[in-house]
C-alpha cells in the first residue's frame, strides 16, 4: 500500500486524490481478502490496477453530432500544447473526410497567429484570422463563415491563460456563451505537477469541459495529472499527444496509461507492436528450426527483418519499463539501427551456400563479403562470432528442452 501511495505521488497525482484512492483500494482489499484465494499482494495489485483503470475511464471519441459546423474549443495554460493539438486534430479530422477550419483565437502572444497559419499551410487547412477582433466575436464570425463555406468542423485555438486570470477566463465564458461548442477540450502538459487539479477545477468552473488532451506524452513524465483531472472533473480523456509531428495524436488506452502512471512502462504497447509486426507462420517455422538446432544466418536475417517492422528502435526502447527504459535511453538508437543495417548488409552479401554453411567462410570469402556489403572484414568477423554464440545458445536451449522456446515464438 505504501508503494502504491509513493508511486502515485511520484507520478504527480494530486495529494488529496492519492489519499482518497489509497483509502478506496484499502477498503476493497480488506473486503476482498476473505472471499478470494489470491495471494494478498497479487490481490492488491489487481485492485489498484482495476481502480486506476476505472478512474481513468474509457477513451471517448470526439462528439461530432449536432448541426454543422461543429465547434471545437481548445483551452489550457500557456505552453501546454494547444496550438500543436489544434493542428493535430485538424489533420486527424481531415483524414476522416471532414472539411476543417482553424481559428487563431490568441491575439495576445506574439506570433501565435503566424504559428497557426504556418500549421494551416502545412496541412492545407484554412485559418481564420482577423486582427482587432476579440476572440468571442472572431469565433462567431468564423463559425458563420464556415457555415456558408460548407465546413464540418471549426477548431478554435485559444490563448494560453492561467485559471486565476479572471479577465481571460471571462473571455472564455464569452466565447462559449456566444457560440456553444460541441467540444471544449482542456489541453494539459503531461509533465504538470500538483497544480493540475486546480487548473482543471478552474477551467471546469468557467466553461463546461467535455474532454481532456494530455500533451507531450512522448517524454518520460508518468502523466499522473490525468488521474487528478479525471477525479475532479470527470471529463473523459480523449487524446494523447505523442510527438512533434502532426500525426502524433493517439487515442489513449486506460490500461496502458495506468501501468505508465504506476511506473510499469508501456509493456502492453510493446507487445502489441511486436504482435502486429510478427508473421505468425514465419515465427512458427523459426521456432521449429530453432528447437531443432539448425539455426542459420538466413534465420538471423529473417529475425532482423521482423524486428525492424516493429518501428523505429528509438520508440521501442522508450516503451521499456522503469530502469530498463532509462538505460535504453542512453543508447543511441541510431547506433542500434546502424548495427542492424550492417548486419543485414553483411548477410545479404553472402551466397546461399555461405548462409547455410557458415563454416566454409575463409579469409578470401570474408574479404569479398566485406567489400560487397561496404563493411570491414573485422565487422564480418564480429558478426560471425555473435552468430556462433547465438547458435550455441540455441543448441543449449534445445538440450534443456526447446518447448519453452517454441512457446515463446509461437
Amino acid at each position: 500500500m505504501r508503494e502504491v501511495r509513493l508511486a502515485l505521488l511520484e507520478a504527480d497525482v494530486h495529494y488529496s486524490v492519492v489519499k482518497e484512492f489509497v483509502a478506496r483500494v484499502r477498503e476493497r482489499a480488506v473486503g476482498a481478502e476473505v472471499s478470494k484465494a489470491l495471494i494478498p499482494g497479487q490481490q492488491v495489485v489487481k485492485i489498484v490496477n482495476e481502480e486506476l483503470i476505472a478512474t481513468l475511464g474509457e477513451p471517448a471519441p470526439l462528439n461530432l453530432s449536432g448541426p454543422r459546423p461543429r465547434l471545437l474549443l481548445l483551452v489550457g495554460l500557456q505552453g501546454s500544447g494547444k496550438t500543436t493539438a489544434a493542428g493535430k486534430l485538424a489533420q486527424l479530422l481531415r483524414s476522416h473526410g471532414e472539411r476543417v477550419m482553424l481559428v487563431a483565437g490568441d491575439p495576445y502572444r506574439p506570433a501565435a497567429i503566424q504559428q497557426l497559419q504556418t500549421l494551416g499551410e502545412r496541412l492545407d487547412v484554412p485559418v481564420h484570422t482577423e486582427s482587432g477582433v476579440k476572440p468571442p466575436e472572431l469565433t462567431a464570425r468564423a463559425v458563420a463563415k464556415a457555415q456558408n463555406g460548407g465546413f464540418g468542423v471549426v477548431i478554435v485555438d485559444t490563448a494560453g491563460r492561467s485559471q486565476l486570470d479572471d479577465g481571460l477566463m471571462n473571455e472564455l465564458r464569452a466565447i462559449v456563451a456566444k457560440v456553444p461548442p460541441a467540444e471544449t477540450l482542456l489541453v494539459v502538459d503531461a509533465m504538470i505537477g500538483q497544480e493540475a487539479l486546480h487548473v482543471a477545477e478552474g477551467f471546469r468552473d468557467a466553461v463546461p469541459l467535455t474532454g481532456l488532451i494530455l500533451a507531450k506524452m512522448d517524454g518520460d513524465a508518468r502523466g499522473g495529472a490525468a488521474i487528478s483531472i479525471r477525479s475532479v472533473t470527470g471529463v473523459p480523456i480523449k487524446f494523447l499527444g505523442t510527438g512533434e509531428k502532426l500525426d502524433a495524436l493517439e487515442v489513449y488506452n486506460p490500461g496502458r496509461l495506468a501501468s505508465r502512471i504506476l511506473g510499469m512502462g508501456d509493456m502492453l504497447g510493446l507487445i502489441e507492436k511486436a504482435e502486429a509486426a510478427f508473421d505468425e507462420k514465419a515465427a512458427q517455422e523459426q521456432a521449429k528450426k530453432l528447437s531443432s538446432g539448425e539455426f542459420t544466418l538466413e534465420d538471423l536475417a529473417e529475425m532482423l527483418r521482423s524486428s525492424k517492422k516493429m518501428g523505429p528502435m528509438s520508440q521501442m526502447l522508450e516503451m521499456l519499463p522503469g530502469n530498463m527504459g532509462q538505460a535504453a535511453r542512453n543508447v543511441a538508437p541510431q547506433d542500434v539501427e546502424r548495427q542492424l543495417k550492417t548486419t543485414e548488409a553483411i548477410i545479404s552479401s553472402m551466397t546461399i551456400a555461405e548462409r547455410r554453411r557458415p563454416d566454409i567462410l575463409n579469409a578470401r570469402r570474408r574479404r569479398r563479403i566485406a567489400s560487397g556489403s561496404g563493411t570491414q572484414v573485422q565487422e564480418v568477423n564480429r558478426l560471425m562470432k555473435q552468430f556462433r554464440e547465438m547458435q550455441r545458445l540455441f543448441t543449449t536451449l534445445k538440450k534443456t528442452g526447446g518447448r519453452g522456446l517454441s512457446h515463446l515464438f509461437g
Partner: protein, 302 residues
C-alpha cells in the same frame, strides 16, 4: 530593491491565496500531533517538492523539535521556513567575464524560452549592456516571428536564420555578427525539445559545439528554462540538460501561476544548479532575479 520585492509579492499573491490561512490555521496554538505532520507533508507535496524532499524536510523538522523540546505547532513555522531556505542556493551574481558573453537558452517544449529570451534581453539592455536576441528555433512554426516581434517591441537587436535552417549555423552566424557589432551579450533561443528525444538532444549538443567554434570558450552559460507548473519531471529535465549540454543555471518561468515550483529544491539538492531568474508575469519587466526568501514565502504563503 523594495520595488523588486514588491514585484515578487505581487507575482506570488495569486498563488499565495490558496494556502494562506491554511498554514496559519494548521500551525495555530495547538500541540504538535501526528496530524500536524500529515498536514505539513500535504502542504509540501502540493507545492511539488516531491515525496523524497518533503520527507527529508519533515525529518529535519522532527529532529529539531525533539532536540529543542518544542510542543506547540505555532513554533514550527519559522523552523520550517528556515529549513526550506537553507536548502536553496544563494543565486550567484551575474558578471560578464567576457564579451560577447554567449548564453544558450534550452528547455522542453512550451516551457517559456522565447518569452524568457525577450525578457532577459530587456533586463540586460536596462542594465546598460548591448544584448543580441538570436532566434535559433528554426523548427517550431513562427518561433522566429515570435522573438522578432518581441525584439521590435522592446527595441532590441535581433538575429534570425531562415525557417528550417540549421540551428547551429544560425548561432554561428549570429556570434560573428555580434563580434563585428561589438555586442555584449548574445541570447540564443533554441528550439524546445523533450529531454528524452535522443536526436534532438544530439542536435543541441551540436549547436553547443558550433557555438564553441564560432567563439572559443562559448557558450559561457547554458540556462535551462523550466515551467514552474512542472511536477516531478522537472528533475529529469534538469538532469538531462545538465548531462548533455552542461546547463549551469535555471530560470523558473511562469511562477506567477498558481504553481509554487517546489521541484527547485530537489534540483538544487541533486544537481547543484542555482536558480537565477524567475518569471513572475507576462509583462517584459516581470522577469526578476531569483529571491530565495520570497520563494520560500510563496511556498508557505502564510
Amino acid at each position: 530593491m523594495a520595488d523588486l520585492f514588491a514585484r515578487w509579492k505581487n507575482g506570488l499573491t495569486r498563488s499565495s491565496q490558496a494556502a494562506f490561512g491554511r498554514l496559519a490555521g494548521l500551525l495555530g496554538a495547538t500541540e504538535i500531533t501526528d496530524e500536524t505532520w500529515d498536514e505539513l507533508e500535504a502542504l509540501l507535496i502540493q507545492a511539488d517538492l516531491g515525496i523524497e524532499t518533503a520527507q527529508s524536510v519533515l525529518e529535519a523538522l522532527k529532529g529539531a523539535v525533539r532536540t529543542r523540546g518544542l510542543r506547540r505547532a505555532s513554533e514550527l513555522q519559522s523552523l520550517l521556513q528556515a529549513e526550506l531556505r537553507s536548502r536553496l542556493l544563494e543565486p550567484p551574481s551575474f558578471t560578464l567575464t567576457t564579451r560577447p558573453f554567449i548564453i544558450l537558452l534550452v528547455g522542453v517544449n512550451g516551457s517559456g524560452k522565447t518569452t524568457t529570451a525577450a525578457k532577459l534581453g530587456r533586463r540586460f539592455a536596462q542594465a546598460g549592456f548591448k544584448p543580441l536576441l538570436v532566434a535559433a528555433d528554426t523548427f517550431r512554426a513562427a518561433a522566429v516571428d515570435q522573438l522578432q516581434i518581441w525584439a521590435e517591441r522592446l527595441n532590441l537587436p535581433f538575429f534570425a536564420g531562415q525557417a528550417g535552417a540549421d540551428p547551429g549555423a544560425v548561432a554561428y552566424d549570429a556570434i560573428h555578427s555580434a563580434i563585428t557589432k561589438k555586442m555584449d551579450i548574445v541570447l540564443v533561443d533554441t528550439a524546445g525539445r523533450l529531454h528524452t528525444r535522443y536526436n534532438l538532444m544530439e542536435e543541441l549538443k551540436k549547436v553547443q559545439r558550433v557555438v564553441g567554434k564560432a567563439l572559443p570558450g562559448a557558450p559561457h552559460a547554458v540556462w535551462l528554462v523550466l515551467d514552474a507548473t512542472t511536477g516531478q519531471n522537472a528533475l529529469h529535465q534538469a538532469r538531462a540538460f545538465k548531462e548533455t549540454v552542461a546547463a549551469n543555471g535555471i530560470i523558473l518561468a511562469k511562477l506567477d501561476s498558481s504553481a509554487r515550483g517546489g521541484m527547485a529544491f530537489a534540483i538544487q539538492h541533486e544537481l547543484g544548479l542555482p536558480i537565477l531568474f524567475a518569471g513572475l508575469g507576462e509583462k517584459p519587466d516581470d522577469l526578476q532575479p531569483f529571491d530565495p526568501d520570497a520563494f520560500v514565502e510563496g511556498i508557505l504563503s502564510a
